[in-house]
């Protein structure tokens, strides 16, 4: 998980084209971003359509077919207790995507309001909140996630909660930074002068303008969350068998690399593709939203 600051992105309200139109134009031009988006959409579709697309039930065991290599019957081979690997990859997409989606949603839900309040109100409240956020950032992200997951108990849901909580400070800090840079703009001052209540200013004037960097960070955070889920599974704290998740599949496969490499290749490739795609898309999005590009 990165703590890099994202440059202030204030969409220019003066050019002829609507900001989102210009962003879209830039985005489409950047091919890696489009590739990334496409792959993400593919995985989401796979996850949603799993019951229709999967050749087998991911939990049906078959003693006779333990650790069989890829074949016509089992295109990705079978795992250590005879389950079809392809089926588990397809169904496992749900767990990995959920890990990305839920964790980030949690982090946004907790971090953005905190950052808004801290940035807008300033003063003592800001100081207090930011010290607490700094404290959370000072503890290495994975340690925090491990401790939380250990406290909550090993399961996918708890891993998502743990990762989400660990990512909250980054969104809080980002939001606050954005609010600070926008707070003194003319249109905000004007809205205050007219007599708008604070909550209205925050929700209707500030928030929409800081969505772009949040969106970028959310995409990148989702990628990090999926990797974090794999990491927690490696330590035995993520999704537990027999439910499939790519991270826990990798964790089981690591002890069979020489005997059954296919057990590891597919989940590894799946994680890699999804995470890379999210990273490419996020980077492309950041580029496209950069106001310096005309």
């Amino acid at each position: 998980m990165t703590a890099e600051p994202i440059d202030t992105v204030l969409l220019d309200a003066d050019s002829g084209e609507a900001p989102w139109q210009r962003a879209l134009r830039h985005l489409v031009k950047r091919r890696t971003a489009i590739f990334g988006l496409g792959m993400v959409v593919f995985f989401v579709a796979l996850a949603i359509l799993a019951p229709l697309v999967s050749p087998y039930d991911p939990q049906t065991t078959n003693w006779a077919a333990v650790r069989k290599p890829p074949s016509m019957l089992h295109p990705f081979g079978t795992d250590e207790i005879g389950r079809d690997v392809l089926a588990r990859i397809i169904w496992g997409a749900r767990a990995s995507l959920a890990a990305g989606l839920v964790s980030v949603s949690l982090a946004l839900a907790a971090g953005v309001p905190t950052g808004l309040v801290a940035g807008y109100m300033g003063g003592f409240v800001d100081g207090l909140l930011m010290r607490m956020i700094d404290a959370m950032l000072a503890v290495p992200f994975l340690i925090l996630a491990i401790a939380l997951a250990a406290f909550l108990g090993p399961s996918l849901v708890n891993a998502m909660i743990a990762i989400g909580v660990s990512q909250t400070p980054i969104f809080a800090r980002l939001t606050r930074g954005q609010v600070l840079s926008v707070k003194h703009e003319e249109y905000i001052e004007a809205a205050r002068a007219i007599g708008n209540p604070h909550y209205r200013i925050v929700l209707r004037h500030i928030l929409p303008n800081i969505i772009p960097p949040l969106l970028v960070q959310a995409t990148l955070a989702a990628a990090a969350a999926i990797i974090a889920e794999a990491a927690l599974s490696f330590l035995g704290l993520g999704e537990q068998p027999p439910d499939p998740s790519w991270g826990s599949m990798l964790n089981t496969a690591k002890n069979f690399i020489s005997q059954a490499p296919w057990m590891a290749v597919w989940p590894g490739a799946a994680i890699f593709t999804l995470v890379l795609s999210l990273n490419l898309f996020g980077d492309g999005l950041r580029d496209a939203l950069d106001p310096r590009r005309g």
């Binding site: 003693w63 333990v66 250990a150 108990g153 090993p154 537990q240 027999p242 964790n251 002890n255 690399i257």
Partner: protein, 503 residues
């Protein structure tokens, strides 16, 4: 800080000076040992280090007979309430002090009285230790306790240097001084334990290398990689699923022996509210569960057929196995009939499983097999430390757990089913007066025949009540480089350095 620097210098010096003809044996362990103080130590893996570091009064043979080590002869007296032991002469501790009866008395009293001692429960039958002469002690008990010699073949029988122990107090574990073939040189937590040959060891002819380094490497694949690449000479607990690979690898040799350990499903019969379910209350349901599990298939799928299926607290090859109650064959039809008779055709329960890859695999197979008889088992993967706590509190229905095994059969059963057993071990709170009577008979009887008779009767009760459904006994599996010779596996899994040589 200075100590670390000094140790580093020492290590550098040893390295430089001994670089010429020093032979080093590098052993890979599956975990990092805990405190290296025989009185306080608590882990199985620590015993592997002790096998090179601290000799004990008696030892066991691969056939589980008690053989002399620091004691040369012994005799039961006073109706089996006294044990007279003659000590070996000329044994020196690592600090040069001589071992005598006073040292033995000191060590045993240390095991009994030191606060926090983990040995107290093991030899609590000892009332006092008398010194007969410089090389003879008499251990006095208040009632006969057959497992005593077996306890003295483990940490409770390890003799430490009184001078060093008194000087170090409870810091003794940081630099232990015993009478084993190797003496303590250095330890870096989670990295390595280094022991060097003790020149005055009483059995020095059996020792053929100068230094042994223990390296804890928890991941079994990485541990194997190390011995394949030659960085380690010997590893313990090779994964069953890697055995085939290791056999085919020309760089390696493998060895195996059935362990004293067992693994099974412990059922909560009487510990709190969660015991109030069909599984905990009705023994027909438990019998149905046992009949739905195909132990041979379980062994095949999870352990490549390498381990030993079992149904008792002793493995089938053990001399203490009750031969007229063999491992039952699976019978799903009968299981279903039992469930119907019990009035619950689709019993559902949660099985708590520590997050350990092999155990989780086994749990999934059990879940799948039991489903055929109608059981709906939910697997609750729980971190080991949490699972212990939950088990003690009675917050579980079934617990898939094992026991590392003790030389004496009493050590494998008493604490798990006796009414008076510590609640931390008999977590299901099983209590049956008839079983208790047989347990006590097994403890106090004088001959193996008499004890076996008691255990036969005990098995008839326990295997019918099923507080624990035993499923498999693991084998201790070792992989080593081809240059290593003279290794003998023991049922307790410990690596004894005597006889091992590197060509």
């Amino acid at each position: 800080m200075k100590r670390i620097f000094a140790v580093a210098l020492l290590a550098l010096g040893l390295y430089a000076g001994a670089a010429s003809a020093q032979t080093t044996l590098r052993i890979g362990l599956a975990e990092d040992p805990d405190i290296l103080d025989p009185t306080l130590a608590r882990t199985y893996v620590g015993r592997i280090v002790f096998a090179s570091l601290c000799d004990k009064l008696v030892d066991i043979s691969p056939g589980l007979d008690i053989v002399p080590q620091l004691a040369t002869e012994w005799q039961w007296v006073d109706d089996n309430k006294g044990l007279v032991m003659k000590l070996r002469q000329g044994v020196k501790f690592h600090d040069g002090e001589l071992m005598d009866a006073a040292a033995v008395k000191f060590s045993l009293e240390r095991h009994l009285n030191m606060p926090g001692s983990n040995r107290k429960g093991e030899i609590s039958a000892l009332k006092s230790i008398e010194i007969i002469d410089d090389h003879t002690v008499k251990l006095v008990l208040d009632k006969p306790f057959a497992p005593l010699l077996a306890q003295l073949s483990d940490r409770a029988g390890m003799i430490v240097s009184p001078k060093a122990a008194q000087a170090a107090g409870d810091k003794f574990g940081e630099h232990p001084v015993c009478a084993g073939p190797f003496k303590f040189t250095e330890r870096v937590a989670q990295d390595r334990i280094v022991l060097d040959r003790f020149a005055d060891y009483w059995n020095k002819d059996a020792i053929h290398f100068d230094r042994v380094i223990f390296l804890p490497i928890p991941d079994s694949t990485v541990r194997l990689s190390n011995v394949q690449s030659g960085q380690l000479d010997l590893i313990e607990r090779l994964a069953a699923t890697d055995l085939d690979l290791a056999r085919k690898d020309a760089r390696l040799k493998v060895d195996a022996i059935t362990s004293l350990a067992y693994n099974g499903i412990t059922i909560n019969l009487n510990n709190g509210d969660r015991a109030k379910n069909p599984l905990g209350q009705d023994k027909r349901v438990r019998e149905a569960l046992e009949l739905s599990i195909d132990r041979a298939a379980l062994n095949q799928v999870v352990f490549n057929g390498e381990f030993t299926p079992g149904n008792q607290w002793q493995a089938p090859p053990s001399p203490w196995y009750v031969k007229d109650m063999p491992v039952p064959a699976p019978d799903v039809t009968k299981a279903k009939a039992l469930l119907a008779a019990a009035g619950v055709t689709h019993p559902s329960f949660t099985m708590m499983v520590p997050t350990n890859p092999e155990t989780l695999r086994a749990a999934q197979v059990i879940q799948s097999m039991a489903a055929e008889a109608g059981f709906d088992i939910k697997i609750q993967a729980t971190e080991f430390a949490s699972s212990l706590d939950l088990a003690v509190k009675g917050d579980y229905e079934a617990y898939l757990i094992g026991w590392s095994g003790r030389t004496d059969p009493d050590g494998n059963i008493y604490n798990f089913v006796a009414c008076k057993a510590p609640p931390a071990l008999n977590t299901g709170h099983y209590c049956n007066a008839d079983a208790d009577a047989q347990l006590d008979a097994g403890r106090t009887a004088g001959t193996q025949t008499d004890r076996m008779a008691a255990y036969g009767k005990l098995a008839a009760i326990i295997l019918a009540d099923r507080p624990i459904i035993n499923l498999w006994h693991q084998k201790w599996l070792y992989a080593m480089g081809t240059k290593l010779t003279g290794f003998t596996p023991y049922p307790d899994g410990l690596i004894r350095p005597q006889g091992i040589a590197l060509q």
